[in-house]
Subunit: 296 residues, 2 copies
């Protein structure tokens, strides 16, 4: 018998679609039902066999559902919780794939208060610049981390089922406190995205933008790859995690102020020392990290 009978995915894009494909291939789900704001992308997911059926109402989607995955940009998760709450059966597990966790959990406390035993927030550390169900593939989560931030109210069996769901996709599951999660990813993911978007936006607005871009090489290519990411998704992440992100940005601005002072005083010795420390740390990290897809 499959781990999950009826799986409902709200927002069948790269993340939700890849989850559906991975679970189907693992034989871990009997039926996948899609729901979302764009009928055309649900139809496309149906054509591609990523979902087995599409629902137009939450009442229909939730009827007999074992697990509901909220896979929309984080900015829409609260609205989806409001919409699904009246139709949520007591045994149905609600989880999400949001890149921020405190805002999702706050929304759950506001709108799913009666069901907190079965609301299990999670965040798969995977993705790509390409979005939409066309970009979905079953291998997206293999070798990736999935962070689960259980609530004190959670029923252990519900948390175990979400852990098992991601393990069957080939991911390694780790638990974190929501606040730790949001601070860590503000530093290693959200800030770099903001910095890359900012640099490209800055250069693109120049009178000599074409000349500049025409001389950009592979260093620029890799540094700015994440500036090709989904604007709405990253708007939501930055807004949802703005407190932690502002803290990281301010610490980085202090670092840049220090670098600026070293340049102003032509302090080559300290500059080289800083570059050397950065290189050692980066190389030590890279030796442990084995990259597969261009995941985020």
């Amino acid at each position: 018998m499959a781990l999950i009978g009826k799986l409902v995915i709200c927002g069948v894009g790269l993340i939700g679609g890849s989850l559906a494909q991975a679970l189907k291939r693992a034989g871990a789900v009997e039926q996948v039902v899609g729901i979302g704001r764009r009928p055309e992308s649900l139809l496309r997911a149906l054509e591609l066999g990523v979902i087995d059926a599409m629902a137009t109402t939450w009442a229909e989607a939730l009827d007999g559902a074992d697990v509901v995955v909220l896979a929309t940009p984080v900015g829409q998760i609260e609205a989806q919780m409001v919409a699904l709450a009246p139709h949520l059966a007591s045994g149905t597990i609600v989880t999400d794939v949001g890149s921020t966790k405190r805002d999702v959990i706050e929304a759950a406390y506001r709108h799913l208060d009666a069901s907190l035993a079965h609301v299990v927030p999670a965040h798969p550390i995977a993705g790509a610049e390409k979005s939409g169900v066309e970009a979905a593939f079953a291998e997206l989560y293999r070798g990736r981390k999935v962070v689960v931030t259980p609530l004190p109210e959670n029923e252990p069996a519900a948390v175990d089922k979400i852990r098992a769901m991601w393990s069957l996709c080939g991911a390694s599951v780790v638990d974190m406190a929501p606040q730790d999660h949001d601070r860590v990813f503000a530093a290693v993911s959200h800030l770099p995205h903001l910095l890359a978007f900012g640099l490209v936006h800055d250069l693109a607005g120049r009178a000599n933008a074409e000349l500049l871009f025409s001389h950009a090489a592979s260093g620029f290519r890799d540094f700015t790859r994440i500036a090709g990411s989904h604007p709405e998704m990253w708007r939501d992440i930055c807004i949802a995690n703005r407190q932690a992100l502002l803290g990281e940005l301010d610490q980085y601005l202090a670092e840049l102020a220090y670098l600026r002072a070293l340049l102003l005083s032509s302090d080559g010795e300290r500059l080289e020392q800083l570059f050397d420390e950065a290189r050692r740390a980066r190389n030590a990290w890279a030796e442990q990290f084995v990259p597969t897809t261009t995941a985020e």
Copy 2:
């Protein structure tokens, strides 16, 4: 008959070594002589067949030389000019591979005043984090740009020979004014390197650095790849081009101040608009740019 008879390379590392290998494979050089501050790396270059002989003095190196390539970090170029000047025959062409051009040209005016007809500054837009002659390979320059910044004093035949030398390595040669060169590369190369070094240095200094790095994914990997670059080389570039780099850094700090204000005011609309403009510009650039090696 080969384009170059005796080629002298000062600093036989990734850049100088790859140039030697490419020219040898193209049959464009009769003899390659290496000179530099590290005898052990010259011996290694000799063992690897990258150079045919090593010189211990400039007098010996320059005897009968057709072309001299200064391939050391830019911070050493002036000292090398001082050392070679007394032994420079009138017909010998002096070129360099420095990532900055105004400082190299100023040094040439100070120390090679009598030979300016044959001093042709250049900058191949290629490289990798890995440095040293072991990392050298003949294909490094294939499909890459090489910027030549000729002096008004240059003899056209000397400029043509340097253009031909790089063309034979598979590179496409473009001319630029030195000041334009330094401004353009401050924006698309030097600033991104500074930003990447800065981010990794910032995070590596945290009490929870291990936790942070353990959750960094491919977005972080690519954003920080250039933080693995050669510290001394980048110290020299940053110091040599500090005026242009400070200008770029200050403009970027203004961009970050704007982003910070959007976060503070939770202005999702403007944030998404900025991200969207950045993504469009980045994708438009990426469509034209066909990456090969991890070049810089």
